[in-house]
């Protein structure tokens, strides 16, 4: 089972939910945790995994063989991302704009371009007790996280319950993270910002045809608009967590909810049971 935890709005509690869910299920199930928020991976502070292996992530970018080049300009015309600029006697390449499509290299009439590997990030593999852990980190100054997320997801282990901690938002990094999930949990807060972004996230999941449910975090801070929205659209609310200064304080120190309030473990296990019912029902 592949479960992704997303939100739309940042800071609603995705990592909190993903981590506590993983730790609650650990005793009875083999779990794999993939932190796909490769721009700002935070699950490490709560799971505190032992890192055993590091692997760089590369994308393929073009490199010029100047001797063969006739400066015809075809590569620049082909490139959809302005990653090549052809001058009178040189070709400027901007690897940070390159999407690695291979078009310029394939279509150069003089075979004057070849591809080289360009590092954009890193994957770190480890474990925390029996939980398999992998996260990705985009290199500082790099623009594109989807290739790192794709590389990370290649290591998905379908024999385990895979829990994916997705980034905030609803665009390409989130799509890349949640694609292929059997179910998605949308974590929200009962405020106008929370509702606005929940609606966007719900639309994204519908587009991707991924069934989803909602978890309302800090459930008593705002108004009932989020609950009403879920009811009106038949979106199952699988858990609500009240505002609790103890939880906020524990979070700030990298402590999990189930560590300071062990009764939450049953609630997280319940969420998983409800998800199974929803998928098979």
């Amino acid at each position: 089972m592949i479960l992704s935890v997303a939100s739309g709005k940042g800071g609603t509690g995705k990592t909190t939910i993903a981590v506590n869910l993983a730790l609650s299920l650990e005793g009875d199930h083999p779990v794999q945790f993939l932190d796909c928020d490769v721009e700002e991976p935070n699950a490490q502070f709560f799971l505190k995994p032992q890192i055993l292996k590091r692997q760089p992530v590369f994308v393929k970018v073009p490199e010029l063989d100047k001797e063969r080049c006739t400066f015809c300009g075809k590569c620049s015309k082909i490139c959809a991302y302005n990653a090549l600029a052809v001058l009178k006697d040189d070709v400027l390449i901007f690897p940070e704009l390159c999407h690695g499509c291979g078009g310029c290299t394939l279509l150069c009439p003089e075979s004057a371009l070849r591809e080289k590997e360009w590092k954009i990030g890193i994957l770190e593999f480890g474990h925390r007790d029996t939980i398999d852990f992998i996260h990705g980190k985009l290199d500082i100054g790099q623009a594109m996280s989807p290739p790192v997320i794709r590389a990370l997801k290649e290591h998905r282990d379908p024999s385990r319950i895979v829990i994916i901690d997705a980034p905030p938002g609803t665009s390409c990094p989130v799509v890349e993270s949640v694609k292929g999930s059997h179910f998605s949990l949308l974590v929200t807060e009962p405020t106008p910002f929370g509702l606005n972004d929940l609606q966007l996230a719900a639309e994204t999941l519908r587009l991707l045809k991924i069934p989803f449910g909602v978890i309302i975090n800090r459930a008593d801070i705002g108004n009932s608009d989020v609950e009403d929205y879920c009811q009106m659209h038949d979106i199952p609310v699988l858990m609500t967590i009240p505002m609790d200064r103890r939880i906020a304080s524990a979070y700030s120190e990298g402590k999990t909810i189930i560590k300071i309030l062990p009764s939450y473990k049953t609630k997280f296990i319940d969420v998983y049971t409800k998800i199974k019912d929803l998928i098979h029902g």
Binding site: G10, A80, C101, G103, L106, Q142, P168, S249
Partner: protein, 294 residues
Amino acid sequence: MKQLVIISGKGGTGKTVISAAFSSLASSKVIADCDVDAANLHLLLHPEVQEAHTFSGGEKAFLHSDKCTMCGECVEVCRFEAIEATEEDTIRIDSISCEGCGVCSFICPAQAIEMRDSMSGEWFVSHTKYGPFVHAKLGIGEENSGKLVTQVRRKATEICTQNNLDYVIIDGPPGIGCPVIASLSGADMALVVTEPTLSGIHDMKRIVEVAKHFKIPTACCINKYDINCENSSRIEAWCQEHSIPLLGKIPYDEEVTRSMVQGYPMTEHAKCAASKEIQELWEKLLNVLKKENK
């Protein structure tokens, strides 16, 4: 004209609440919401849209099935897993995964694939009681390459220059990727809003590094600082060590949520500690901005 961008690294630290407060406090400005993926600032500023434009961020591949000979070359050549040969013996292009590179179209021997402009979002120029406001909405699931962000910024600086206004206040997105870089580039100052949590500190360090990488002068403020005073001190020490001016420490305040729910910038009506601190933060920021010379 000075461009101030508000960023964070971590989501949910309070960028939009603070951007709205600045929009209310500043006298001569254009406001820009560059979090085009999940825009929220409009919920506090209540814009009256004057101009709406569609935005095309690139192209997507479209298959003319009547021309297709099922040779499968496109499937081979696509690097983004956007083309598959289905069980029903047809070729299917997944427009969500398609990154618009055009290689499939170039190599198709039957010329059965056409690249079409993809409408990836909309951008707006609006009037608000706080001044002109440029904002956008990225289409669902679209690539957030930063192009739409760049469009929002371009229009905001144009309005600022044309009307001889002093500031562009930019509400930035979370993260460190394309849309953040597009929000940052060419700005006069970046204000990093952080929170005193392990995640907040880690993410703050990363975004400060990004701002440095792009040579943008940076300042910092701590939101909800009293959730963990020890961590707040750590942030203070780190900022001092790295010569980042720490311009404010805003206490956690339920008034923030109250004013958000009621839909207004919190400095407008609330006379609480958080409000006062944000006003002082704005004054200090103005001083730093005036000193910054491009």
